[in-house]
Symmetry: C2
Subunit: 556 residues, 2 copies
């Protein structure tokens, strides 16, 4: 059979871009995108994307060049997920909550040639470009995404803005021959990870990877034909976990949303009969804390980034949400592990269901393999639910690598064929994995690996604690000892007495070696632009503590 080789008829590259053309053929008259008073059909979205891709090409953007986008979940953001790669360019969404110095660094690193910028992010982008070194003689061109909800600004006439978004759409050719990928491995998107520590890394995914994660996420989450999807998850987070392309595959309706707000979300669910949405647990928390009548129809909600806490799960379910827990990384282009629900779990108690749902789960059908291994030996850990190891993944949805960072790429994509996630987990006897920590956040004390998440879980049950984070504090004898930083519910409650009381509280609930030796009460925990607690800052603070003393040397 060796003579049978791939040929043009069977080896055209996998890509999710073709789903758009098919959606136009099948669901041409059905709503594709709804935003405030604007509704597009799939025919219109298809035509608009072709026109936009044509204009991006006309501007002079070449195959493989980077086009950046700064936008919330407005229709333009959705369309750009097709139009930019249909012009042959690489789509680079940038988190609109970053600061100008970071944005400046990302734009330079990506060598972005063109930037689509939402009207509300224009000053951020201008400030970022203003920070470019003088050696950069041709900064990227700007295209302004206007919004009927905001008055048009004169800045459009400024020299740095080449056109408006709608200007490009209207000038484009709807018969544009879009740039199909030449191989499965052609770069498709570039996403910078919001690293809590080191400088951000540019994750590059190819067309094949995006195709795999898109179709497999639809199957694993069982998204039906013409689902109504509410965009509560920012598309600039790992391309909205691939669902911009997935909605085209099933002819769904995208309900756009500029800004998350629980009341607005409930109104949109009711008005558009929303069936599906995604969001981090904080979104679930906010929704479940907003008093409401239960939903008329159940809404599927997919959550990831951290396990949903049991009380939040219970409240969400009583409101009529059906919560699915997944785990993914920017490096896997979206979902890579699913807490696939077993029918027999339906009959368990609420607490037990929450415990099971807090586990990350099993690989999606798009991954070839997933495991928890000893990061030194690469050997699988015991399936005992307690031995910690690193989550490793293998399969088509793993990134091509980090842009301009072969060292970083080789560090996580090793010769043994695994992608090392840096997440520390245990493997349960049923083959479901559960995250315990980021590997760099594991505290090694007297040779014992301590999960900071386990200590934090106990701290969160203390009634006075608002937020808590635990890091390792250098210790001559133990190597490291757990050091807890906590903020309290009530101001003025701090003091040595409270710190000691928290330590006592942990003593009665944790093994001795896991009890924080130090508790530091601070007003606010340091956070990154996307709201992640910055453990690297806390580690520096822990190092700076005076020996034998738990108080911070310099006030925050």
């Amino acid at each position: 059979m060796e003579e049978l080789k791939p040929s043009p008829a069977n080896s055209s590259s996998l890509t999710p871009l073709g789903f758009l053309e098919r959606a136009a053929a099948v669901y041409g008259d059905c709503p594709s995108v709804i935003y405030n008073t604007t509704t597009y059909t799939w025919s219109q979205t298809h035509r608009r994307c072709l026109q936009l891709a044509s204009s991006i090409s006309s501007i002079g953007i070449q195959r493989g060049q980077v086009v950046s986008v700064f936008a919330p979940n407005v229709p333009a953001m959705y369309e750009l997920h097709f139009a930019v790669p249909m012009a042959g360019a690489v789509l680079n969404n940038i988190n609109i909550r970053l600061d100008p110095p970071t944005v400046s660094k990302l734009l330079l690193h990506s060598e972005s040639k063109l930037i689509f910028v939402d009207i509300m992010s224009l000053s951020l982008v201008r400030d970022a470009i203003w920070l470019f070194p003088p050696t950069v003689t041709s900064p990227p061109l700007l295209v302004l995404i206007e919004d009927d909800g905001f008055s048009r600004i004169n800045s459009f006439s400024a020299v740095d803005v080449v056109d408006t978004y709608e200007g490009l759409v209207s000038k484009g050719d709807m018969n544009f021959e879009w740039a199909r990928p030449r191989t499965d491995w052609d770069p498709f998107v570039l996403n910078y990870t919001s690293g809590t520590t080191s400088s951000p890394k540019g994750v590059v995914h190819c067309h094949r990877g995006a195709f795999i994660v898109t179709v497999c996420s639809l199957i694993d989450w069982f998204v039906p034909k013409q689902a109504v999807y509410l965009w509560t998850l920012p598309m600039f987070h790992a391309n909205g976990w691939s669902f911009p392309w997935g909605m085209a595959a099933i002819g769904g309706t995208n309900i756009c949303l500029r800004k998350f707000d629980p009341s607005t979300v409930y109104d949109l669910i009711k008005r558009h009969e929303v069936t599906h949405m995604c969001g981090a647990p904080v979104i679930l928390n906010m929704l479940s804390n907003t008093p409401r009548e239960p939903l008329e129809n159940p809404v599927q909600i997919l959550t990831g980034g951290a396990p949903p806490p049991a009380p939040v799960l219970t409240r969400m379910e009583s409101l009529g949400f059906r919560v699915t827990h997944e785990y993914g990384l920017t490096e896997t282009g979206g979902i890579s592990v699913f807490c696939a629900w077993k029918p027999q779990w339906d009959h368990l108690s609420v607490t037990e269901r929450a415990r099971l749902k807090a586990r990350q789960g099993v690989r999606t059908i798009g991954l070839t393999d997933a495991d928890v291994v000893d990061p030194e030996s690469g050997v699988s850990v015991k399936r005992d639910g307690s031995t910690m190891g690193e989550i490793v993944l293998r399969g088509g949805c793993v990134m091509l690598g980090y842009l301009k960072d072969p060292e970083g790429t080789n560090k996580c994509m090793r010769e043994d064929g695994w992608f090392y996630t840096g997440d520390v987990a245990v493997m349960h006897s049923d083959g479901y994995m559960e995250i315990k920590d980021r590997s760099k956040d594991v505290i090694i004390s007297g040779g014992e690996n301590i999960s900071s998440v386990d200590i934090e879980s106990v701290l969160y049950t203390h009634p006075a604690v608002n937020e808590a984070a635990v890091v390792g504090r250098p210790d001559e004898y133990w190597g490291e000892t757990p050091c807890a930083f906590v903020s309290l519910m009530a101001a003025g409650d701090d003091g040595i007495a409270r710190e000691r009381e928290i330590i006592e509280y942990c003593k009665s609930r944790l093994p001795k070696f896991m009890v924080p030796k130090t508790v530091v009460i601070i007003q606010h925990l340091p956070k990154s632009a996307v709201g992640k607690i910055q453990k690297s800052v806390l580690r520096d603070m822990a190092k700076a503590l005076r020996p034998g003393h738990s108080r911070i040397i310099s006030p925050l």
Copy 2:
């Protein structure tokens, strides 16, 4: 970005085989396969397939060698869809309705090393091997698939049978390291097309193609988690259109069925709460002709091979079936074009719905492109619903090629990057295609292309006609003229008067150039082993007609 290349972590080959391991992890305790009084769980199926793969390896089957299977839809047939390729071998299902000379030819052509044979096909396979030329010194080994429903036969002890199926399962190692494909393009299955004319062709598909058609068929047909699938479609027909692997991806239940029988099917639907099934229109016809109470719950039924006739559709829907029409070929590994249903069509009349549903439709999300083109110029036909052209397809589910037939492969997989299907169709204005004929069945009369299907449709409406087939009859003046062969409802109804009356009937319903110049009444239309009308035989018969006469020279 050129430095970012595929690496082991992201380039493991696409294959549907991994779905089995995942089904065991998620749905381990749920039923995978049910047959009579036997029920397996996904854990058991996973284990049994590993054991069987291990035994196939132990027998000495090497990577890339062919293993043939002769079986109806029994559990062994399902398991072999995983076990054979997990041993690294190429799965070759052979239609159990073929005759020994054909089977002999296929076994020799495929160089099959091992044959799994159902107890009811043992004499067929033995007869076929007996026909091998004496130069073949080592014929394939046989493994007998027994069935509790049949008494065990002594022939098992015969020298040519190496073991029973259950013997191999029980001897195997459940910790067998299954043979993962080394590339996306490794051969996976070999299926011989039941050609109505020339010698059968061996269609080879690779792992990547099978992965794509499997996941995309699940999405396009919207098969939900844990569907209950009744095996009315033979798995030896293009691997049951990929659903053996698809059921593992969604943790469904396979209801096995040795022989199609309407009453049994209705009983199984009720007993197992069947949700999904597939079958040719003849299956729909038989089901709809069996008087029944409507189904308690709707059953999705996918049909292909020919458009379902309107009255059958109406009866099926009133019984509670939801019919979806698809189009595929052995060469596309299953479904390639779907009559994707538009929500606005729900409100049309029964006749109009049937007309729309009879169209083959639009490409699946797994195909890159599909079109109807002029086969000479390769240019798309007008989207007018009347200009005929050939259906061409492009995408990952198109076969690698025909085994040992580079000429045949190159003829249909052309340099312009299309796979030419040989099916003649029109393209409607909405982008849905509709088949008019096989290209070799088109009649060219006086320069006009005539679809034999269009004439046959009219003939079928004649109350006296049972079956009808139209071919071209050589004609000095016109080149060809349409020649109709019909069998009648009532015997003894034939005669010149009836033939003339049928021609008159057509005259009032067809354009003049399409009216059959000749009508030949015969008792039975010649059919292939799978029940397809053999137009090649009819063409020979048409050639043999005496000039100016419509009667057959030699009786059938």
